[in-house]
């Protein structure tokens, strides 16, 4: 595989040097006779220069042909799919091209398999997920893991409401309205939080776990068009770039503060983090000292110290 790559790289380099030679030639041609050619015999010198460039182009062309012939072809040229090769012996050639299509689709699925293996390796490095099954378990471990499975989405509705009212009381400038979209399903809860006169957010809970956060400006509404009472529009993005960015950061914070063993601490920490946005327009970035970077205020709050940073300044 490496030999093929080297040969390919050589060929690509040769092609790019050929292209730059041709480019130089056309540049010289467009500039015509220049002052550098001196006073005497200007045209002769110019023609000599052009001839040099043409000679360089032809030598680069030979090099390109040589390196291209060095690239090894894939072995056997064609993939052999066993008995299906007989499909290619169809008498009327234009009736079907089934075998060649078969070969094409086989190559495609092969490549897909290879790429998805590599992707799985990349995605498995991301620990920001909260699913309760690990696909790499052997079946013997399942029983033990199930006992330790976190069940913070199964808590009683009164404890969830207790935490929320405590947070409401704790922060003076943060008001919380509770909505219950499915009265029969006691585990789903949505709250609308308004922070000062800066922003409004809807947070959707599943038991004690925060599932969905959307942040908008204070004067943007979360009502659905149909006007059904008690229904919040959770999905429309804010009109402003600032609040779209803060929604992304809030989703990151929600994942960061997720803790299956201490669910109410998770919710409290998230609310404290959200509360730090009351100084969104007045704070300067801790690193660069400015209010604005690319016309955006500091939209990142550090998870531990709650310091304000611009998106590009965050440590």
């Amino acid at each position: 595989m490496n030999v093929e790559l080297d040969a390919l790289n050589e060929a690509l380099k040769a092609v790019s040097s050929l292209r730059s030679c041709v480019g130089n030639f056309f540049l010289s041609l467009s500039q015509g006779v220049r002052s550098e050619h001196g006073e005497d015999h200007r045209e002769t010198k110019y023609i000599l220069e052009l001839q040099d460039l043409v000679a360089e182009i032809s030598s680069n062309m030979r090099k390109v042909e040589q390196t291209c012939s060095n690239i090894p072809l894939p072995p056997d040229g064609q993939i052999n799919l066993g008995n299906t090769a007989h499909l290619a012996h169809e008498t009327t050639q234009d009736r079907q091209a089934l075998y060649s299509e078969l070969v094409g689709s086989y190559k495609w699925t092969d490549k897909l398999h290879e790429i998805s293996n590599i992707t799985f390796g990349f995605l498995a490095q991301n620990v920001m997920k909260r699913s309760y099954n690990s696909y790499l378990n052997s079946s013997g471990m399942n029983a033990k893991r199930r006992r330790l499975t976190p069940s913070c989405h199964n808590m009683s509705i009164s404890s969830v409401e207790g935490v929320i009212t405590a947070i409401d009381r704790q922060y003076q400038d943060m008001n919380v309205n509770v909505y219950r979209p499915h009265p029969s399903n006691c585990h789903n809860l949505q709250i609308q939080v308004s922070l000062g006169r800066i922003l409004r957010a809807v947070i959707s809970f599943r038991g004690m776990m925060i599932e969905w956060v959307k942040v908008k400006a204070y004067n943007e509404e979360f009502q659905t068009d149909s006007g059904q009472l008690g229904q919040l529009d959770l999905w429309t993005n804010s009109r402003h770039h600032v609040f779209r960015k803060i929604t992304e950061n809030a989703n990151a914070a929600m994942l960061h503060f997720y803790s299956p063993t201490l669910p109410d601490l998770a919710v409290r920490s998230f609310m404290t983090w959200l509360h730090s946005f009351r100084s969104l327009f007045t704070d300067t970035c801790r690193r660069c000292g400015n209010h604005l970077l690319c016309a955006m205020p500091p939209t990142w709050r550090d998870f531990r110290t709650l310091e304000a940073f611009h998106e590009d300044c965050k440590p």
């Binding site: 006169r197 800066i198 400006a217 204070y218 004067n219 009109r239 402003h240 770039h241 600032v242 609040f243 327009f281 007045t282 400015n290 209010h291 604005l292 690319c294 016309a295 955006m296 205020p297």
Partner: protein
Amino acid sequence: MGVTILLSYPVPENKTGPQTAELLIKRIGALGAVQSGQFLVDCETFSSGPTMGGPPRTVHVLHNSEQPAAVFALLESPGPPPKTVPLVADGLFDLLMLKMSSIYASKKQTRMEARGTRFEIADFLVKIGTVTMSSNFKGVLVEVEYRPCFIAGNCWELMREFMQSFLGSVVQNTPPPYFQVHNRLNDVYQPLDTIQQYLDHFASYRKVAGL
């Protein structure tokens, strides 16, 4: 409607008004702004005739292309005490004023307008316009709006930094005089505040002797 600051940019000695506007447009383009149309703010002044009795009162009728369905009218009654009564109405108000031409006469030669291009950059809206009074150039006005915030006191520092980045030292370190009265820094900002700022600037341009 976000907080809007209106600033009069002084035209340097060796340049004309349109050249100054071009210079500002180049600067804002260098910051990455995208042009998004034209804007027009115009002001027509009507003054009451002798049939009304009492001292003459003026009505300024303004239109802003940012609020195309609205007509703003400001009645200045000299006193005592002198007060300004604002009104926001829909387009039919223009026709109403036409009907009242016997009571309120329009002074056509004092019609002022600010016209120019508007630019958008992130959540900012910048309008650079030239002010003309009956085709005579009067000055260059720059309007900067920060859409997410509608409390002036919250975002004054942020807006000052933004404006200084392309206007330079023309921008003062204190909020403009419009915001320093009546606790306007902590009030919810309305489109009428923009119109009142325009009116203040138009009035100062009218006082300057013909350019």
